[in-house]
């Protein structure tokens, strides 16, 4: 297809036919000469004809009858008279005043307007005037000065959803702070005052409205949809030099909570604006709220919302509390229209209603799975495809700011997503584990049973695996090869090139189900050769499979567990792409081993090296993590984990005890386990050098005070001793601004969410639902797009996520071939995993 073909098809597709008044003779000429484009036109005409012939869908008559009998349709529409009132209020809602007993004496008003020189941007969309009022998100706010200088406030574009223009008619006289009286409530303020600066709504269809603008040394806020979208400072900040910006004082709103509409009124179309005068203490907390403009049914909801707002603490020289007039607008239509924003997402985790709580004790599933990240497998496939399209390369886990252990193998930290708590509140508590990066011990001699399940083919890869083992065999190592249906084909003393080649050249048994038998045999043999004085982990069974294990999985995982409890760990290697990764993960977890994916022969050396070195890479074993919530703190969930059943708990305890005893026996670390403890318990069999792991808890705390305490007991393999590390979290009642640590908690939460959603989108692609996958990514994109303006201004990690999501949206919209869609599914999974832990480089 030539460029001309593309051009011609674009024209045809836009019009749905050959454009009638097309002067472009070259188009017709091309159509006569190009068979493909002529065929395209035929198809297009057929599609158009079928579009025109689509049967009209109609609603049932009784639905229309029900509609016409509804109460809402009784009588006339809204009275026009009341509309002006409502509009005045709605318009007033756009502007709230902040009167602060702060003055900036050296700040002439000219400063604000001096830089506002750019010409007004023409409204991008024509014909807006006749649209219903609820219809336009993303309109800009324009600022007009008397001498014709206009400036589009681009920083507000993303937040403002009202077409409002502010007009500064007169530069105000500079006033002394003492003479500034706080402006009254909005209702009073709504009348224009002689000689004072006014803000005029230029929206003509609303008839316009005037409001006084506070003098330069006062501050005001713009409130849209109940949210302060800009203070006077942020209005002008982008136009001011940094020096001037520093001089300005800001009353930045840090926490905004949308008003919750009274339940009973949700069905009705609610419009109304409540004016409130709020008092803010020095720390920025709202300590009092009084209704100045009342809408009786909404007053309480407005008060409830603003009492949760929080502003920036007062600057040092402000001694008093600050008074602020704000308006809370209730507009159900607008709320509905508001695309699912970052704000609502971030607020959702603070919702207290309708929660159910879980027992904050017993054993919970361990989510730290060491070994080969499953992305290895995907990485190989992605690299193999050699496409330039690679959004997944933008996926990075959140950088964790945890301190490295100063002493011992592990450090533990505990933080929340807020720094203070005044009243009952829901918060995320994050427990972070970080291992020391140093280990560097030599690998001890290993006792390994290798089981190759070759029925699914992949002879080359299997051979590569065996050859790698042979090549890395060190003196003292005892390796043996076991094949399903054939037993031990190469004993330890014959683990050499010749016997191995011979054994592998013989055909596989072809008998399904014999894998369990082979694994059992391997475990027995390795166990028999296990020297209990050797470090734990030196005896292991390595199972490589090329196929889905299926119904044998239950028996295998039981075997793996028993083996691990007996001191022989079991690791799994998936070969090729006809395997079930979740199965292998389960198997490795039961066997306290690791799992790997061997995509191509070249991976074999790395896998074997990693597996054999794992024993020496572990810095801590038998980690017992106990998280005890303080009294009154209730657990909503441990994210990504789940409570273990009685049987699972029993297994975990057995495994812990076996490690405990074994290490006591051969490393002299005293056995100290066997007792259940209070609180949430998570057992992690091994923790490896350099690794970081986080656990997020969703809890509700009754107020300020202690929140949780975490204790980690572990066997320190460097110091050869039992070690206990503790950390605790308490929140005080005085409001404190959230800092980087709190944002880190939130980012881990977001990363977890992003990871799940990306993987979910990949699943949808696998099921052929490209539309669903796209919708999901677009959804994430719109949420993430809101994060920089709410909680993460200027955050590079978030910006990177947004770039990645944008690439996915573009790719999903344009990818049509099955192979490309499959590639995208891999890419999404890779990116999903990449949000949780560092990814291997794509080779």
């Amino acid at each position: 297809m030539t460029d001309k073909c593309t051009e011609v098809r674009d024209v045809l597709a836009l019009e749905g036919k050959v454009p009638p008044a097309q002067n472009d003779a070259s188009l017709r000429e091309h159509l006569e000469g190009c068979v493909e484009c002529a065929s395209f036109l035929r198809s297009l005409s057929a599609v158009e004809a079928e579009l025109g012939a689509l049967p009209a869908a109609d609603v049932e008559d009784d639905v229309v009858a029900t509609l016409l009998s509804r109460e809402e349709l009784k009588g006339r529409t809204h009275a026009r008279g009341s509309r002006h009132w409502a509009m005045g209020l709605a318009a007033a809602a756009v502007i709230g005043f902040v009167a602060v007993r702060v003055s900036v004496h050296d700040q002439p008003e000219e400063v604000f307007l001096a830089d506002l020189k750019q010409p007004r941007r023409e409204a991008e969309m024509a014909g807006l005037r006749n649209l219903p009022q609820e219809s336009r998100a993303g309109d800009s706010i324009d600022l007009e000065t008397e001498n014709g200088r206009f400036r589009e406030l681009d920083s507000l574009d993303s937040l403002a959803d009202k077409d409002v223009a502010l007009k500064f008619e007169d530069a105000p006289k500079k006033q002394d702070a003492q003479s500034v009286s706080p402006p009254g409530p909005a209702s009073r303020a709504a009348a224009p005052q002689e000689g004072k600066e006014t803000v005029r709504g230029l929206d003509e269809r609303k008839g316009g409205f005037d409001m006084p603008v506070p003098p330069a040394d006062e501050e005001f806020a713009v409130v849209v949809g109940g949210a302060v979208v800009a203070t006077r400072d942020s209005f002008f900040a982008s136009r001011m030099s940094p020096k001037l910006q520093r001089k300005r004082r800001s009353i930045e709103k840090l926490v905004h909570v949308d008003p919750v509409l009274p339940e009973g009124d949700r069905q009705a179309t609610i419009r109304g604006t409540v004016g409130l005068q709020i008092q803010i203490d020095r720390a920025g907390n709202v300590i009092d709220a009084r209704v100045s403009t009342s809408v009786p049914s909404l007053d309480q909801a407005a008060i409830d919302a603003v009492m949760l707002w929080k502003y920036a603490p007062a600057p040092g020289d402000v001694e008093d509390t600050r008074i602020l007039d704000v308006l809370v607008e209730f507009d159900l239509d607008k709320q509905e229209r508001k695309e699912y924003t970052a704000l609502s997402f971030l607020e959702a985790r603070r919702i207290l209603e309708g929660l159910s709580f879980r027992q904050a004790r017993g054993y919970w599933a361990n989510t730290y799975i060491p070994g080969d990240p499953k992305v290895r497998f995907l990485a190989a496939r992605l690299a193999h495809a050699q496409l330039t399209l690679s959004p997944h390369l933008l996926a990075r886990p959140v950088a964790q700011p945890f301190d490295a252990p100063s002493r011992g193998a592990l450090s533990v930290s505990i933080h929340a997503d807020r720094r203070s708590l005044r009243e009952p509140g829901r918060l995320l508590v994050q427990v972070g584990l970080k291992a020391t990066t140093s280990h560097g011990r030599r690998r001890p001699p290993m006792n390994v049973g290798i089981v190759l399940d070759r029925d699914g083919g992949h002879a080359l890869e299997m051979r590569a695996l065996v050859e790698a083992l042979q090549a890395m065999k060190a003196p003292g190592d005892r390796f043996r090869l076991i094949l399903p249906g054939r037993g031990e084909v190469v004993p330890p003393d014959a683990f050499r090139h010749g016997p191995l080649t011979l054994a592998l050249s013989q055909p596989s048994s072809g008998r399904l189900g014999s894998l369990v038998g082979a694994v059992r045999l391997a475990i027995e043999m390795v166990h028999a050769g296990d020297d209990p004085t050797m470090p734990l982990g030196t005896s292991l069974v390595l199972v490589a499979t090329t196929r889905v294990i299926g119904s044998d999985m239950g028996a295998l995982s039981q075997l793996a567990h028993q083996s691990a409890v007996g001191g022989v760990s079991l690791s799994a290697v998936g070969v090729g792409d006809n395997i079930d990764r979740a199965e292998l993960e389960r198997l490795a977890l039961s066997g306290q081993g690791r799992r790997y994916f061997l995509e191509k022969s070249a991976d074999a050396n790395r896998i074997v090296d990693e597996e054999l070195a794992a024993t020496s890479r572990a810095v801590a074993r038998a980690l017992r993590l106990r998280i005890k919530l303080a009294e009154g703190v209730k657990l909503v969930n441990v994210l990504d984990s789940s409570p273990l059943s009685e049987r699972q708990s029993e297994r975990v305890r057995e495994a812990e005890k076996s490690i405990d005893l074994r290490l006591a026996r051969n490393l002299g670390i005293e056995a100290d386990r066997g007792e259940d403890e209070d609180g949430i318990q998570i057992i992690i069999p091994s923790f490896y050098a350099g690794d970081v792991h986080t656990i997020l808890l969703d809890v509700v705390a009754p107020g300020p005070g202690p929140i949780a305490e975490v204790t980690v007991r572990y066997k320190d393999l460097a110091a050869l001793e039992n070690t206990v590390t503790r950390a605790s979290l308490a929140l005080h009642g005085t409001m404190a601004t959230e800092g980087p640590l709190e944002r880190n908690v939130l980012k881990n939460y977001l990363a977890l969410h992003l990871s799940r959603e990306l993987e979910g989108a990949a699943d949808l692609l696998d099921r052929g639902d490209q539309r669903g996958a796209l919708a999901r990514i677009e959804h994430l994109q719109s949420l993430w797009a809101g994060l920089p303006v709410t909680a993460f201004p200027g955050d590079r990690e978030i910006a990177r996520d947004i770039a990645m999501l944008t690439e996915y949206v573009t790719a999903l919209k344009s990818s049509t071939t099955p192979s490309l869609v499959a590639y995208l599914a891999d890419s999404l999974r890779y990116a999903g995993a990449g949000k949780r832990r560092p990814l291997p480089a794509l080779s």
Binding site: R9, A57, L67, F345
Partner: protein
């Protein structure tokens, strides 16, 4: 006795309704029931929610009748309400499925088409319905308004609050996709 003539144009119905004519709104509903319901169907509003949404739309039109400027055509005004209601319906639905961190029910349908569905794809209308359903939402909105409602691109831009050029892009891409699936289907029919 003088009998007032019943206005014939939908625009006049809405004005008459505003002026207190109790029958006018019913006429308006009758006039627009098919286009509105058709829009819900083409935009893949699940069957279970269509009737409710249909009613919601007309209630909104009723409530906002005052905002309508009779000097301008009714059709784009009315479809602005329709399109916005459908959009907010979908965004709320997304919101719900999002908070529970589970795929929305329609996401988990069996990917393998059953034999019945396979048979019906052979029918002309069915393949087209499916192809429209497979379009991304903005393309679908634009396509339905442009080809089924026959609205000018400028009006569609107003209705959907997008620049005209974006509308053009969507309509072009939508048609390209439909042609593509038409050709794929034709090939399949030829092959077997």
């Amino acid at each position: 006795m003088e009998i007032e003539a019943v206005p014939e144009l939908p625009e006049q119905w809405l004005v008459a309704h505003r002026e207190g004519d109790s029958d006018a709104f019913g006429k308006l509903v009758q006039r627009y029931r098919r286009p509105v319901f058709g829009y819900l169907v083409r935009c893949s509003v699940p069957e279970s929610d269509r009737d409710d949404l249909f009613q919601d739309i007309f209630i909104k039109i009723h409530q906002r009748a005052d905002q309508y400027d009779e000097a301008r055509p009714l059709h784009p005004w009315l479809f602005t309400v329709v399109a916005n209601t459908v959009r907010s319906y979908f965004s709320k639905k997304k919101l719900r499925s999002f908070f529970v961190w589970e795929p929305a029910p329609e996401d988990v349908k069996d990917p393998a088409p059953d034999s019945e569905a396979r048979a019906s794809t052979k029918e002309t209308a069915a393949w087209l319905e499916r192809a429209i359903e497979a379009l991304p939402m903005p393309q679908r909105e634009v396509l339905v308004l442009a080809t089924i409602e026959r609205l000018p691109l400028k009006d569609i831009a107003s209705i959907l609050a997008m620049p005209v050029n974006t509308v053009k892009t969507h309509v072009r891409r939508a048609r390209l996709r439909l042609v593509e699936s038409y050709e794929r289907r034709t090939r399949l029919n030829h092959d077997g």
